[in-house]
Symmetry: C2
Subunit: 292 residues, 2 copies
């Protein structure tokens, strides 16, 4: 293996340290950050994930309330719940846990969360703000993947970047964020004729598709950075979208799965929580400053 392994846990720990300091400062001003997590129906699948979020939040000084609603709840009732949380000044961020029952379209819920409380960065306005390059709350996984790349000794301006996968919440936001940093970005997906043509020319490759072994060593430029966002279960093991062994022979840097993007994503959620809280505090203050 020639590639340097990127330690996601260490990056996350540094970020959570900053979040904790920020949360402490906000608490002193009477704005202790508080998240509410909404899950619906049988959450066995997500429960472990939610408990992990809760542990990380509380360790970073962010209050975390996990709510679970019965699978029979109607979309209208849930939207009512969200409007209540939007209006509640003691709630600074709202997390909508997936999966949701079939009768609850996730996008409709995401749009019902007030953009200033959208700590997952899923609201169209949050995504739009990335395009406008004034990033406030970005989609956690995408922001985490870019934060990881930024820890490497690479100049972002003019960097040739290939993003494989064009989902709204990962691939496309990564592309925007990297453009904002001055990179030249190509986005590939299942309709791309030859992904290797693009990935082989890139200084950094992000992959977020959900196909184990999709990216192999010969698809990479020697010394390139490979940020693997995929999370797949293969024979009881968790693996990414990259064929780790062959990629590690060619890449200059590579993220492990697990232990790469995952922990940094949770840390980013907490960073968004304190960002959202500060925005709400400033908004509240400004609203009075101009005597509306």
């Amino acid at each position: 293996m020639t590639a340097t392994l990127i330690d996601g846990k260490a990056i996350a720990a540094r970020m959570l340290g900053q979040v904790q300091a920020e949360a402490g400062d906000l608490a002193e001003r009477g704005w202790a950050p508080r998240l509410v997590s909404i899950s619906v129906g049988d959450v066995a699948a997500a429960e472990l994930y939610v408990r992990n979020q809760q542990r990380q939040a509380e360790a970073a000084g962010v209050a975390f309330e996990a709510r679970n609603y019965p699978a029979e709840i109607s979309l209208e009732q849930l939207i009512g719940v969200l409007h209540g949380l939007n209006a509640d000044p003691r709630v600074n961020g709202i997390i909508i846990q997936r999966p949701l029952p079939a009768h609850i379209p996730v996008k409709t819920l995401q749009k019902a969360v007030h953009p200033m409380k959208d700590v997952e960065g899923m609201h169209p306005a949050s995504i739009g703000n990335i395009v406008y390059n004034d990033l406030t709350l970005g989609p956690c996984t995408a922001v985490a993947a870019v934060e990881i790349l930024k820890t490497l000794p690479l100049r972002m301006e003019g960097l040739d970047v290939c993003v494989i996968g064009h989902s709204e919440i990962v691939g496309k936001p990564i592309a925007f964020l990297m453009m904002g940093l001055g990179a030249t970005v190509t986005v590939c997906h299942h309709m791309t004729r030859q992904v290797a043509v693009h990935s082989r020319a890139a200084d950094a490759v992000f992959v977020a598709v959900g196909k184990p072994g999709l990216v192999t060593g010969e698809m990479l430029k020697p010394g390139a950075a490979l940020i693997d966002i995929g999370i797949n279960r293969v024979d009881g093991r968790t693996v990414g979208d990259a064929d780790f062994d062959s990629c590690a022979q060619v890449a200059g840097w590579i993220t492990p799965v697990p232990g790469g993007v995952g922990p940094v994503t949770v840390a980013t959620l907490m960073k968004n929580a304190v960002l959202a809280t500060r925005m709400q505090m400033d908004h509240y203050t400004a609203a009075f400053a101009v005597e509306r």
Copy 2:
């Protein structure tokens, strides 16, 4: 010249015909589309442009009110005006004409326009909806450029596209519109190391930078489509960003400037006006249907 010249005026005429039918249908239901144009201060620069919008609007059955406010008006006053227009059911779309005085930040105004009345497609939520690929109101110039490409006998899925220029309102939205159509998109800009490396490999090139002669024939793949969005004044003539003569020798299709993207952009604004009016009508109906 080997390239086929793309007739923007003919494409615009077809679009305006559909707008007129749509506007007539809406008028019958009591929702005749109506736009309000806001300009501030000395508008000599924009006046010709605004009058052209007005003529096109009225020809397509869209009412158009051109308002001009004094250069001394404060940002707060203007935002108050916009809130009034947002709340007025007789106003279906709001256009904010550039240039604006230095003390009026255009983005702040754009964000103050209700997304459902954002016929220019400039609100962060409108941009975010492009990323989410459920396009309602898109930025007119970007939508127009893509509409032009769609008139060519090219399969969009898997098409290799190069976008030169990464502005929020043109380059980036074009990239995400093309991704939504299944193209493989690379976005180049002033920090890109070698634009020609990317443009030469593309089946279609969009250029929106504002530099006359930026794209030359040898930067194109023979037979490629070139959509020139640039508008520059050179010795009293209006030219695009492409060196037309050399590009026309290599490209398969090319847009003239003027007479290419320009007219289609105005037609797109009118299309957005009827789209916005229909959204508002449906929203209004739905609001009563569920007895809120």
